[in-house]
């Protein structure tokens, strides 16, 4: 078994992932506390509140974070919360376009400049996040489309971290840490993460500094259930179920083989 060609394994997992799309399992999903906390927080927000959608993840991670992003944005729009978007990835324009297409209310119900703005890309990592916490206008002079910041009425209300009621960082790396350090610890702004599964390394900050975390595609599926609108996250969970089961079986088989080989050698 140990001598099996890798390509057989690769074909195996590739084909295994096809099956649940052809024959959905429809297994129920239980909502975890880390997801429910974000839902409850947004339920308390309304038209007077401003949420920051900080994009710190690329197009490459869409499969994991797109369901959560779309579900949370739908919730924000349903609650009529104002939204400021900026980010740190060069391909984030595609992400914003995708969110706008998936949540058409951003263009039909919301007015750009008053209800939502997209400020564009920023380099600088933690330096940029720290600077934005103290003075947003010192960094951004215009939005993504070249409109001077003075002409954006929403941005006249957003001068620093203290003017944001909730930070939602769409994260595949360390930006959640920057926001915790400089926005939450520094200025007291609540911070939540919409992250890939590996972002559970930030769980030690929950709930003291990190108020909620949507963990990967599972978090997206849970949030879709909470807002009552199932989407890509829920569909993808069947593939997750099957693939995880196969991985577990493979680990068990590999270890059984190892134990048997050791006994034979003895």
């Amino acid at each position: 078994m140990a001598e099996v060609d890798r390509r057989v394994l690769y074909w195996g997992i590739f084909l295994v992932l096809v099956v649940p799309y052809l024959q959905p399992l429809g297994l129920p999903i239980t909502v975890q506390e880390t997801t429910k906390t974000l839902y409850d927080k947004i339920e308390t927000m309304g038209p007077k509140n401003i949420a920051l959608f900080s994009i710190a993840g690329g197009v490459s991670a869409w499969a994991e974070i797109q369901p959560s992003m779309v579900a949370v944005m739908r919730h924000l729009v349903r609650r009529e919360v104002k939204v400021v978007i900026w980010g740190f990835f060069t391909d984030q324009d595609l992400t914003v376009d995708m969110v706008v297409v998936s949540v058409p209310e951003l263009t039909t119900k919301y007015k750009y400049g008053e209800d939502w703005v997209y400020m564009g890309y920023l380099a600088g990592g933690e330096t940029a996040v720290a600077q934005l916490a103290s003075d947003v206008h010192a960094v951004f002079k215009a939005d993504k489309y070249g409109t001077p910041i003075e002409k954006l009425s929403l941005m006249q209300r957003v001068k620093s971290a203290k003017d944001i009621d909730l930070v939602l960082t769409i994260d595949t790396g360390s930006y959640i840490g920057y926001y915790i350090r400089h926005w939450n610890v520094g200025k007291g702004t609540p911070v939540a993460e919409i992250g890939i599964a590996m972002q559970t390394e930030w769980l030690p900050y929950y709930p003291a500094n990190l108020m909620a975390i949507l963990i990967g595609v599972r978090g997206g599926a849970e949030y879709e259930k909470l807002i009552g609108r199932l989407g890509d996250g829920t569909v993808r969970m069947d593939a997750i179920s099957v693939s995880h089961l196969v991985v577990i079986i493979v680990i068990i088989l590999a270890n059984l083989g190892y134990v048997m080989t050791r006994r034979e050698k003895k």
């Binding site: 297994l27 506390e33 324009d93 595609l94 920023l122 380099a123 680990i251 590999a254 270890n255």
Partner: protein
């Protein structure tokens, strides 16, 4: 004059001054320092934006080298890379909505970006099969903890046995917390030590370490 500017003490002074200013601003409320820090941070952000091109410049030099040397089974692809890059950049700087740039961004970049990232799915499956052996107590704990998380994440875990998500949730929210907290704490210690060494001029890697 250029002899003075070349001296490493000048570089270390600027690094120490910039870093010291950031820390002073955090602990002491002095308006002049806060204003200066804001300006310097803005400078750092703009410099970082310009630094994006540096990696690309290196890549262009590398592939130009391949083309010049006619590196076997590489130079043709380098020609394609540089040609496509130049065309896209020129068009993108002129008009990002022009069909060539827009199409490349939406269909070539998006699909390849996701596809390359997803390649690791194959490798991790292979790793799970070949590498995860319970050779010791530590390895066994690692595998059991991993499997419980897998069964917590996938709805099929709950379908097999209702206890799996409960155990998995415990591992995630309690079991792993101590270890993760330690890694966070220890990383902070390392960061502070390395940072202070950098600001004191004891670490020279970032500027090449030579006069």
């Amino acid at each position: 004059m250029s002899n003075i500017l070349r001296k490493r003490e000048m570089i270390l002074f600027i690094t120490g001054l910039a870093g010291g200013m950031m820390m002073f601003e955090y602990f002491f409320a002095v308006p002049a320092v806060a204003t200066a820090s804001t300006i310097v941070r803005n400078w750092a952000i703009i410099i970082s934006t310009l630094a994006l091109g540096l990696g690309i410049l290196n890549a262009v030099r590398l592939h130009s080298g391949h083309i010049r040397k006619r590196t076997k089974s590489q130079w043709i692809f380098s020609v394609w890379l540089l040609g496509y890059f130049v065309v896209l950049t020129v068009i993108g700087l002129w008009n990002t909505k022009f069909i060539v740039y827009d199409w490349s961004f939406k269909y070539v970049y998006t699909s390849l970006s996701s596809t390359f990232y997803a390649l690791t799915g194959f490798y991790i499956f292979s790793a799970a099969y070949r590498a995860f052996r319970a050779r010791s107590i530590e390895a066994t704990i690692l595998i059991v903890s991993g499997v419980l998380i897998l069964l917590r994440n996938a709805p099929i875990g709950e379908a097999i046995w209702k206890g799996f998500p409960i155990l998995g949730e415990w591992v995630l929210m309690v079991g792993q917390l101590g270890g993760m907290r330690t890694l966070t704490f220890v990383a902070a210690v390392g960061l502070i030590v390395f940072g202070i060494r950098t600001l004191l001029g004891l670490e020279r890697g970032y500027y090449g370490g030579v006069e």
